[in-house]
């Protein structure tokens, strides 16, 4: 029997959720750095969204294991030659740093319950810095995990950059979505950044597809899902909405919010198609 579809929906949700978490913090940190550390609010949003996402993703991975109760076997050894081992440790430290950052921010709000956390405050920049370094590794990992196999569709070193860019795009979309729902002011540069990410993602996607035997995705059994789900849902509709929005005299947050939903949905579809397509065509 073939190992056909050995990795099912849990794995593509895992890759997507880890991407939203790491990508969101990565983009938020870049923006914070480029603006002279004036956008801490974005960091707070990205961690508050990212933590539940990455924990959800980890649970997905766990329920996919044949022997779930042995998950701790991942945590007692480290193998630099195994992407999954590296990824597990990166995710673990990402979660720990994320929790510490949340505790520090809570202590800064002078909540009596979290006063004791102020002892970590001296390390805020250090922890934030570690999280910043871990984030691109985390999102690159989601691609490296697949590329280090013998599945022709996955075996491309263009898959990690594709996932990095898509994760950043979905991460930013998640932040935008929550900020808009909470009535926060959205700078127009956020919309521009999102447009740039979608364009960059489209270019990388084309390069990736050219680098692998992608027949099953582009013309084969999964072509409908690819053209409909990835090209239209993940890229074309949000890009069109965002560009149209940027062209308006008064930018509409609602349009940006709709675009963000499409980007998030497209992120899942992209990973689903690559995970399924690789295994079906192997």
């Amino acid at each position: 029997m073939h190992n056909e579809l050995l990795w099912k929906w849990q794995i593509w949700l895992y890759l997507w959720a880890a991407g939203v978490a790491g990508g969101g913090y990565f983009i938020a940190s870049l923006i914070n750095v480029f603006t002279g550390f004036t956008q801490e609010k974005l960091l707070k949003y990205s961690i508050s969204i990212g933590l539940p996402f990455v924990i959800f993703g980890t649970l997905m991975l766990l329920i996919d294991l044949g022997r779930m109760e042995r998950f701790w076997h991942l945590m007692v050894r480290f193998y630099f030659h195994s992407p999954m081992s590296i990824g597990t440790w990166v995710i673990t430290f990402w979660i720990i740093c994320g929790f510490l950052l949340i505790l520090i921010w809570l202590s800064e709000m002078n909540l009596p319950l979290f006063k004791w956390c102020s002892r970590f405050s001296n390390f805020k920049n250090l922890i934030g810095g570690i999280e910043f370094v871990l984030s691109p590794i985390l999102i690159a990992y989601t691609g490296v995990l697949l590329s280090c196999t013998n599945i022709p569709l996955w075996k491309s070193y263009l898959l990690p950059p594709l996932f990095v860019i898509s994760a950043s795009s979905t991460g930013l979309a998640a932040i935008l979505l929550v900020m808009i729902v909470r009535g926060e002011e959205i700078h127009h540069v956020m919309g521009q950044t999102s447009v740039l990410l979608s364009m960059f993602e489209a270019i990388t996607l084309v390069l990736f597809l050219l680098s692998v035997p992608s027949h099953i995705i582009v013309k084969g059994a999964l072509s409908f899902a690819f053209w409909g789900g990835v090209v239209v849902v993940a890229l074309f509709i949000p890009l069109w909405l965002k560009l149209w929005n940027l062209g308006q005299e008064r930018e509409s947050d609602k349009l940006l919010m709709i675009a963000a939903w499409w980007i998030l949905l497209g992120g899942v579809i992209l990973r689903a198609i690559i995970v399924i397509g690789g295994q079906v065509s192997a």
Binding site: M1, H2, N3, L6, W7, F26, I27, L30, I31, F34, T35, G36, T38, D64, L65, G66, R67, M68, R70, F71, H73, L74, R77, Y79, H81, S82, P83, M84, S85, T88, P136, I139, A140, Y141, G143, V144, S147, C148, T149, N150, I151, K155, S156, Y157, L158, L159, P160, P161, V164, I165, S168, H187, V189, Q192, T193, L196, L197, F200, T204, Q279
Partner: protein, 290 residues
């Protein structure tokens, strides 16, 4: 105690900490030399396709039969979690069309490289085993193996990855692997890898003289040297084998690097927009102050 599947799993688990494996430390697969390196040699020119080896594998390892869609016991068509070795009919229109497929016990073993727990590891004799007490059933080895060898158990025992472990329980007793011990024609041989390679080279020269100009050894150099070596009468692709198998982690460094370069490019791409935004903010603040 009959050696059914459950018992086998127990034995394999115990044996990992037992006598045979005690002095044997697990090795990372990038270590290319092994002590007391052993191997099995399959000579396709001597195989008559009787499947004694395949049946012996089931018997000595207590592996259940494959059951076809209509509920009948059936001859396996592919390797699976309960079929660890298989006689396949290759494509050539030749009188020696058989091939013995199972784990090749690669030196550059993809399964060992990607395993996140170390459950899949080399013994010091070059054999690749999966510790059934340590495997978490993530399936990474199955996705990484260039020959689609490891399979995860299904149903009640959907859990760990299974594959041939070259009958280490028999080797411990000084016996040959079940397949070799039951081969009817001498097509399978067990011994020191060095000796088997020397023999295989001589045999391939003979076969070439007999008119099999494509005769070759599969496993001499592939993936750093295999521990299940095959004398083939034709090109590997004729037997459904990759001509130059790649270890799954062969592009790992490039993959990490390109992922991080992607992240770097992305930073450069958005930087001007946010620097402009910062300047805009600063100017408007100064304007307000003025």
């Amino acid at each position: 105690m009959s050696l059914n599947r459950r018992n086998f799993l127990k034995i394999l688990g115990i044996s990992s900490g037992g006598l045979l494996l005690k002095p044997v430390k697990s090795k990372a697969s990038n270590k290319k030399s092994f002590k007391n390196e052993i191997a099995v040699l399959y000579d396709a020119s001597k195989c008559v396709g009787c499947k004694s080896c395949q049946n012996a594998c089931k018997r000595v390892n207590g592996l259940p039969p494959e059951i076809s869609a209509n509920g009948l016991y059936d001859a396996p068509l592919e390797l699976s979690e309960k079929t660890w070795s298989l006689i396949e009919l290759a494509k050539p229109k030749d009188k020696h069309p058989f091939f013995f497929k199972r784990c090749f016990h690669c030196t550059e073993a993809s399964c060992v490289n990607v395993c996140p727990t170390g459950a899949c590891h080399h013994l010091s004799n070059g054999v690749v085993v999966i510790d059934q007490n340590w495997c978490i059933g993530c399936g990474y080895c199955a996705q990484a193996c260039p020959f689609e060898v490891p399979h995860l158990g299904e149903g009640e025992e959907k859990s760990t990855a299974r594959k041939c472990f070259l009958c280490i329980q028999r080797l411990k007793k000084g016996e040959k692997p079940g397949c070799v011990a039951n081969c009817t024609t001498g097509a399978l041989q067990f011994g020191k890898r060095k000796d088997l390679i020397t023999y295989a080279r001589i045999r391939v020269d003979e076969l070439k003289k007999q008119g099999y100009e494509n005769a070759n050894i599969y496993g001499d150099n592939e993936l750093g040297g295999l521990h299940h070596i095959s004398i083939l009468l034709d090109k590997p692709s004729v037997y459904g084998l990759p001509e130059s198998p790649q270890v799954a982690t062969s592009i790992m460094a490039e993959s990490w690097l390109s992922g991080l370069i992607g992240a770097g490019l992305l930073s450069v791409l958005i930087m001007p927009f946010w620097l402009a935004f910062k300047k805009e903010k600063k100017d408007s603040k100064e304007g307000q102050n003025a």
